[in-house]
Amino acid sequence: MEQPNLNYINQLARGDDSIRKTLLNVIKTEFPQDIKDYYESVEIKDFKKIEENVHRIKHKFGILGLDKSYDKANEFESHLRDKQFNLKEQQNFNKILITISEYLQTI
């Protein structure tokens, strides 16, 4: 499974440590809330909300260099838009969320 990295954030920061810290702080604060919102929408089976939350979260996949996961999230989102809930896609998506959550604890 691909692993998150900070290449994009480092590129944006251009060696400025305060910018890097700001970006990391925002993602570390916002990501847990995104996950919470996502699981709540899954719980109540609100497909529109699930789709919106997947959309928000997938941007962070891109930021953390998870290109393949981003593509999979795109498919999951697209199916949700068509009101097709694919359990396997959801399980894969959930796994990526766990990987990112663990990674964010290490930085």
Binding site: Y8, Q11, L12, A13, R14, I19, T22, L23, V26, I27, T29, E30, E52, H55, R56, K58, H59, K60, G62, I63, N74
Partner: protein, 234 residues
């Protein structure tokens, strides 16, 4: 260039802010987590450029642009490539950036916006003010509308002026100087101290006079060069 960012995701707004800070010509003045707040702001503030997300809950970026009466330039910043064709249907859309946005691509889009704003400003400066089509004169306590395009001659007669149109003449208590200020320079010229003519109505010019409708009007020697400038020669 003053700009704002509209995106429901804080991380996306912080990234745009970081990217803007790397370009001197851009001044990010405000950020919004939803488009409704931005509409209120735009009603009271002049902005050159908006970085706009498409996929936002309740009110999307595409809904938002439909509400704009005098839209600034817009760069879409989105994870959804599928809306690009629809987005470029609007003349004020400058670019469509896919997230995560990298600096070189961002810089290119900003330069494109700057070029478009520069061209627009040049066009606005060169635009001639709209021509007035008519004015009102007071004759015997009645206000009468006169169509400028119908006037072919205005003649000074003591304290009065005689405004001659194709259908009727109007004698008005006024001076040539006063009426001259109301007339567009592109159409009317004072060719003599007692006459203003509509240059589009000239039939022919001979020595120091012009034939206009059935009137032969003298042209002062000093006004002749100016008169020649108004004419379109073969």
């Amino acid at each position: 260039m003053n700009c704002i960012v509209i995106d429901d995701e804080k991380m996306a707004r912080v990234i745009i802010k970081t990217l803007c800070e790397q370009i001197k010509s851009i001044n990010l003045v405000e950020e919004f987590s939803n488009a409704i707040q931005a509409i209120k702001y735009l009603n009271e503030n002049q902005i050159d450029l908006i970085f706009l997300d498409i996929h936002m809950p309740n009110f999307s970026g595409l809904d938002f642009i439909k509400t704009l009466k005098d839209p600034p330039k817009i760069i879409f910043t989105t994870s959804d490539p599928q809306f690009a064709i629809e987005a470029f249907g609007y003349y004020f859309i400058v670019d469509y950036l896919l997230k995560p946005i990298e600096f070189p691509r961002f810089e290119k889009a900003v330069k494109k916006a700057e070029r478009q704003l520069f061209v627009q400003n040049q066009l606005d400066q060169n635009k001639e003010p709209a021509l007035k089509n008519d004015f009102y004169v007071n004759i015997d306590r009645r206000l009468i509308k006169i169509d400028l395009l119908n006037i072919y001659l205005i003649e000074a007669k003591g304290d009065y002026i005689n405004i001659k149109t194709e259908n009727k003449n109007y004698v008005v208590h006024s001076t040539l100087k006063k009426i001259e200020e109301k007339l567009p320079d592109s159409l009317f010229l004072k060719v003599h101290r007692s006459f203003i003519i509509n240059v589009k109505k000239i039939i022919d010019i001979e020595d120091n006079s012009v034939l206009i409708n059935k009137d032969v009007i003298p042209v002062s020697r000093s006004k002749r060069p100016e008169l020649m400038k108004h004419l379109d020669f073969l």
